[in-house]
């Protein structure tokens, strides 16, 4: 199993084209907004234009008088029919405070863009027009936008019944950081400011709720990453049992965390459908999509170091501005940022303190990297600053401090258990692929011509397959493999795909384990009624647990096929071969279809050696996860620790501050690659997030907390020319506790590439002594830093 040979009879390890790829290229894939039903109605949402205000009254009478308007719903009326949204990850589980999250604001609004009322109409344009006729009388309050001000004792609480704006404050500590810091050769401080940037899949969210009169139930077609857990949430919101709710997530046009649930519109469409007894659909506008925030954190990193570059302690007091409370899992990314410290580095003395703060900005949702990308950015930018101040090569400084490949499994100082890794091997591979030493020479040559080339390093550890105790974020998942009387195969999984190709990877695994041809397999996902209970797509888990469970189920079905084939051929089952649908024993053979048909039709004679039907359901539950707290109360929520090393080459135009990313090299350890071309695609996509995040994507607000970034002209994502050649190497150190050593792909790339780019720009500008740690590196910001440095050090010689 796991043969990479293209001539092998096995599918795993081959870059086969995707089973699901024909739909999108032909325009026939059905994304959520492509579904329409008889009697379809359309919803449009009225959102708060203020960051903080009391709602004194809402007058809906003019909207109701418009012909074609079917229903206008305000927060006050909604509260009669629906309950608050339970949290995806409840802050109380992490010692935090919980706010009541409603689908529509009641009494007051706590952020710009918060839903206040909704109109349902026969046509989209009527709903949109009617929303403009709703009159809300607001008493506008001063908003709390800056997290530092939000933390002051006299700050007004964003959540009126809270005593402060802290969701939670959590320490991550180990060893004796105080002693290490006071006895260090040097303590190097770096303030890293990571800005607000988000996911922005090209398909925005969409929900279409259908009231099923016959069964008095609701079917929700939606852009949903986690259908079964959402069903649980909606059962509480709608006061309906789970068996009266069906979630169907069809083809998804990219998710990256955005389509994890807790959004008000999910419950709203359902209740509107129940009230109107008709299907109600809402398609998120890009402006609405840009409201969903992520990542904004300020880190104050102190590294205690020896003169030789050994890091002896890490202190980081960091603040996350998570915006207004949200039931989505976004806020908890800040927890992962702390938990993943100190990343790949063998630093035992740790003093990290997270302050997760609410403000009157719109809330977060999960975002590719899930906080671990910010850990990488804070660490990598700080380590580069330290290497610069110590006069040590940044590559050497990292290799000196990495956990060594013979130290795994490794108990991290925050309680994590890293499964496997070869961090210096990974980083050196990335360096070699791009010719790191060669670029140093080119850099010197360029500088003589007045060109500023930078070489930057980044590394990231991305724990994958996370499981949070007491939540529906589970470590395991389940698949069913079903072979029909005709020998065709259906695989139903509890995991879902955001468009990443995991159905094909899972089918490759099943084809090999079962012994059938790939094109006889259909993978079915995203339907709570037909698929096994599962936890969907998150945390790079889909192939680890979706593939792992499908392999187990396929093995059991294979055993039945072999047994019946042996009985039909009258041979010993040990002599039966089954590969690519060909069943042989010595010189005898029998068709797969004949065997499968016999299982269903001859259960009382020749096929009685097995229990029909040819179906099996299995669960894969990876090891290493530890939810029973250790003596320090710490858990390990991850089975798998993917990692990646990056080298970025940039050139900065010092007259304009414009940065050009010339080349980027990545070495990626995600364990076994089931379909290498798809795995590469995951890393390339994540790197593109890092490029945009470090250089151009930024969501900004005015001083009143009104969001100014509301379209793709303001929110600048990479286009084709912004992404240079990506040199990708694979470095496989298999995970001992997963099927085939899988580690999970998809998240690694964001934080590592972003850090490498920032470090590269700072490296390019090191002749000026420039160190920019306030992101993103837009041209005006870089230009200003160069000007400031020139003013302060006019006599400084260019090296």
């Amino acid at each position: 199993m796991g043969n990479n040979d293209e001539n092998s009879d096995l599918y795993v390890g081959k870059s086969v084209r995707t089973l699901e790829g024909k739909g999108p290229v032909s325009g026939r894939a059905k994304y959520t907004s492509d579904f329409n039903f008889d009697g379809q109605l359309y919803a449009h949402i009225l959102r708060s234009p203020h960051a903080s205000a009391d709602i004194k009254s809402i007058d809906t009478s003019a909207a109701e008088k418009i012909s074609g308007v079917v229903k206008v719903l305000t927060g006050e009326e909604a509260a009669k029919y629906i309950d608050p949204i339970p949290h995806y990850i409840d802050p109380t589980g992490l010692g935090g405070k919980v706010a009541t999250i409603r689908c529509l604001a009641l009494d007051y609004v706590w952020c710009y863009g918060q839903p206040v009322a909704v109109v349902v109409a026969e046509e989209k344009r009527i709903a949109q027009y009617a929303v403009s006729k709703i009159n809300v009388d607001y008493d506008i309050k001063d908003p709390v936008i800056d997290p530092a001000l939000a933390l002051r004792e006299d700050a007004k609480p964003v959540v009126r019944d809270w005593d402060s704006n802290l969701i939670t404050q959590l320490p991550f500590s180990n060893g004796d950081p105080e002693k290490a810091i006071s006895s260090a050769d040097e303590v190097i401080q770096t303030e890293v400011k990571v800005h607000r940037f988000s996911t922005q899949p090209i398909e925005t969210r969409c929900y279409n709720a259908v009231w099923e009169a016959e069964t008095e139930s609701i079917t929700l077609y939606g852009t949903v990453q986690n259908p079964h857990p959402l069903r649980n949430v909606l059962s509480k919101v709608l006061r309906m049992p789970e068996n009266k709710i069906r979630i169907h997530a069809p083809t998804i046009g990219g998710a990256f965390g955005l389509k994890m649930h807790g959004h008000p519109e999910e419950g709203l469409m359902c209740i509107l459908s129940k009230l109107t007894r008709r299907p109600v659909k809402w398609v998120e506008s890009r402006e609405e999509c840009l409201l969903v925030g992520a990542r904004e954190q300020v880190h104050n990193v102190e590294l205690a170091v020896k003169k030789d570059g050994t890091i002896t302690a890490l202190r980081d007091n960091f603040v996350a501005n998570t915006g207004a409370p949200s039931a989505t899992p976004g806020w908890a990314m800040s927890f992962l940022t702390g938990l993943t410290m100190p990343g790949p580095y063998a630093v035992r003395n740790l003093d990290v303190l997270l302050s997760a703060v609410v403000t009157n900005k719109p809330g977060w949702n999960a975002s590719r990297g899930y906080g671990k990308e910010v850990t990488a950015m804070a660490l990598e930018i700080s380590i580069d600053n330290a290497a610069r101040q110590l006069g040590i090569d940044p590559l050497e400084m990292r290799c000196k401090n990495f956990i060594k490949s013979d130290q795994f499994p490794y108990d991290s100082p925050t309680g994590l258990i890293y499964d496997s890794g070869d961090y210096s091997g990974v980083l050196m591979k990335a360096a070699k692929a791009i010719d790191y030493e060669g670029w140093k020479v080119k850099q010197k040559e360029a500088l003589k011509e007045g060109r500023y080339i930078g070489i930057g390093i980044g590394f990231e550890l991305t724990p994958e397959g996370g499981a949070v105790p007491g939540t529906l974020v589970a470590g395991y998942d389940t698949s069913s493999v079903k072979v029909g009387p005709d020998g065709s195969v259906r695989v139903l999984t509890g995991v879902t795909s955001p468009g990443s190709g995991n159905p094909t990877g899972i089918a490759q695994i099943v084809a090999d384990e079962l012994g059938v041809k790939l094109d006889t397999i259909e993978v079915i996902q995203g339907d709570t009624t037909t698929c096994p209970y599962g936890f969907g797509n998150a945390s790079g888990r889909s192939t680890i647990v979706g593939g792992g469970s499908a392999a187990k189920a396929a093995k059991k079905v294979r055993e039945k096929i072999i047994k019946v084939a042996a009985a039909l051929m009258e041979v010993d089952e040990k002599t039966v071969n089954l590969i690519q649908g060909n069943i042989t024993s010595g010189d005898k053979s029998i068709s797969l279809e004949e065997v499968c048909y016999a299982v269903y039709t001859r259960a009382y004679d020749v096929a009685s050696v097995v229990e029909p039907p040819l179906e099996s359901t299995a669960t894969f539950k990876p090891g290493l996860i530890r939810h029973t707290p250790d003596e320090n109360g710490r858990i390990n929520p991850y089975p798998s620790y993917s990692n990646a090393g990056f080298i970025a080459i940039t050139e900065v135009d010092i007259e304009t501050g414009q940065t050009k990313l010339l080349k980027i090299s990545v070495a990626h350890d995600c364990g076994k690659a089931i379909n290498p071309i798809l795995v590469e695609g995951q890393a390339n996509g994540a790197i593109s997030f890092g490029i945009g995040g470090s250089m151009s994507e930024n969501i900004v607000f005015d001083e009143n907390g009104r969001q100014l970034t509301n379209n793709f002209m303001d929110y600048v994502m990479p286009r084709a020319h912004d992404v240079p050649e990506i040199l990708q190497s694979h470095h496989d150190s298999p995970n001992p506790v997963t099927y085939m050593g899988l580690k999970g792909a998809g998240e690694a790339g964001v934080g590592g590439s972003a850090s490498a780019i920032v470090n590269s720009v700072n490296n390019a500008l090191s002749p000026f002594g420039v160190l920019i740690t306030d992101l993103p590196l837009t041209a005006p910001r870089v230009w200003a830093a160069i000007q400031l440095a020139r003013k302060n050090q006019p006599q400084r010689k260019v090296a």
Binding site: V25, A29, I126, E203, V283, S500
Partner: protein, 166 residues
């Protein structure tokens, strides 16, 4: 009761080779007309400001963003949507085969933009360089691939199309 009645405009279009005579609202976008009235769901909404390219179609053989095209301004034009790239039996064109075979797309939501921009490029320039491919694809955003696989797909399409012509 307030009514949103509007005057209508009569337009005549050929969509994927088929003639349509339609009475439409003057304010409807070509995107909404295609999706909501004519059921061409392969043309996608991504931004409604003309920046993302997921709504790309061809109007008289040139790429256009249907979300910022008022349908009422069009008459007697030939429109090709993504559904028109394959034949009536659903056989894919060499261009589509290349994108599928080489894993050009991940989620595929941007496919209308990428496929039509590539078609337009290769009609003018059958053998483009990487740089020319990037310039051609600038009009459509892809959030999944980092463009690496799209460039690979365009190159494969260039070969595939010239092979199918020879």
């Amino acid at each position: 009761m307030e009514d949103l009645l509007e005057d209508t405009v009569l337009i005549q279009l050929r969509i994927n080779g088929k003639y349509h005579e339609l009475e439409i609202s003057p304010s409807v976008s070509l995107l909404d007309l295609l999706r909501d009235e004519l059921n061409f769901k392969g043309t996608h909404m991504g931004c409604m400001t003309g920046h993302c390219g997921a709504c790309t179609v061809m109007i008289n053989g040139k790429t256009a963003k249907s979300c910022i095209t008022l349908a009422s301004t069009l008459s007697n034009v030939d429109i090709t949507t993504i559904e028109g790239l394959s034949d009536e039996e659903g056989n894919l064109s060499p261009l589509q085969e290349s994108f599928w075979n080489t894993a050009g797309f991940q989620c595929g939501y941007c496919a209308p933009g990428m496929l039509f921009l590539t078609k337009e490029l290769l009609e003018d320039n059958p053998n483009p360089t990487d740089d020319e491919i990037k310039t051609a694809l600038e009009g459509t955003l892809c959030r999944c691939t980092g463009y690496q696989s799209l460039i690979r797909a365009v190159k494969d399409a260039a070969e595939n199309i010239s092979a199918s012509k020879s």
